[in-house]
Subunit: 135 residues, 4 copies
């Protein structure tokens, strides 16, 4: 199991006229969190694309428990609870400044070789970096 | 059961560097589709908010089967397959110009009275407009 | 001079907590309008990219006179008042449903050959389509 | 004169299929920068709205000199070079990781009393915080 936590601040443009973060913007919050998680592992999504592997999202699930509000610092916990093979399932738990759980999410991403556009296994270096957490 | 179909064209700003529609933007596509569905029923989400009821999204689920691409006309079928009570569950099926199913989604929205900020039942007028489809 | 008019409806996700369309979203409205203008001429921005020429924006100017609001149909007039050469200057005038001018804008785009990444002149076919309007 | 510098990292969802940050997203970058500037002064835009004054943008100008790319850390310098009265003019200079100037911008915002929806002068506390920089 691998856990990682990061934070971001809600931008004005991310709210809607309800005064809440628009429900579609959580996908970008998740993206920020999983990208920072990869960086912590000593790699990056950018490097992965440069090496010819991209990771399109094939599933997204969100539960909105409480609204995220303008200017709040949102804490995002990302959890990998299985060793990725052809796909990588990230789970997210979002907390507001009062440490209330406001949102939970899940995304499934697959590895795709950019030259053939075919699904592939997790790149070896990434697998090597993750392995210690799943033994 | 109530079904409705609408179309939209993918904007450049909705793509990302993968050349696909960014996965977070489908939430807005779903929004466009359910809003147009309400309009077809002879009401509108805007009217509902003006009458003091808002509909925050509490759940979102998406499956990405094939990418949506820049400038494509996407056909969105919205399906209501149960009569809404305290919540309204919309299902979405998105098709590209070759009539391929590229994305399926589901959102659960609840009715909230804006003055008390409490969950409430479906407004009577909306219920009246939907009832014939569920008899 | 070439003038073209199109319409779009404001999405919920485009508003912010002020209840107005977020000021950054007008850029996408302008994009929709100029893309539809090109289509009217019998070409498309997509075709242009496929032929190896892209059009990055190098300048953007907006004046916000009145807010655009959720669910409003916005009418966008696009004006080309000079024959494009190495760049293409679009002017925009946005009107709300009461026919009030709510926003004016201007963008300067340049033609860039995608293989060399160098600025180039307007592609011949586009020039041919535009010429009649500037004689 | 008051100068302030902040940084942000480009998100995947902010790029478009050209591989650049979409031109409309710079407006949100500017927003992040001016909001952080206000925070440095010991106030915040959120507090200002809570005290009944909002700041809609009335003008936006951007020049795009070089593209901002995915995952880059962008440094944003915000400059106030005149003491605000009824409006507040922010200037922006954006730099990439090679310290190249990639974008310059300007926004004019006005102060609006939210109860009357009328333009007003700069709130006294904000004026007091800014005054030392313009003497």
């Amino acid at each position: 199991m691998f856990e990682f936590t990061t934070q971001l601040r809600v931008r004005y443009g991310e709210t809607d006229q309800m005064g809440y973060v628009y429900y579609g913007n959580y996908a970008e919050f998740y993206e920020v969190a999983r990208v920072e998680m990869l960086r912590t592992l000593g790699t990056s999504y950018k490097l992965m694309e440069e090496s010819g592997v991209m990771m399109p999202v094939v599933e997204l699930h969100c539960k909105y428990l409480k609204p995220a509000l303008y200017d709040q610092i949102i804490t995002i916990k990302v959890i990998l609870d299985e060793m990725p093979r052809a796909g990588m399932r990230f789970k997210y738990m979002l907390y507001n400044e009062d440490n209330e759980l406001i949102n939970t999410g899940e995304t499934l991403l697959v590895f795709v070789k950019m030259d053939t556009n075919k699904i592939c296994f997790i790149p070896k270096e990434l697998a090597a970096k993750l392995k210690p957490y799943f033994e």
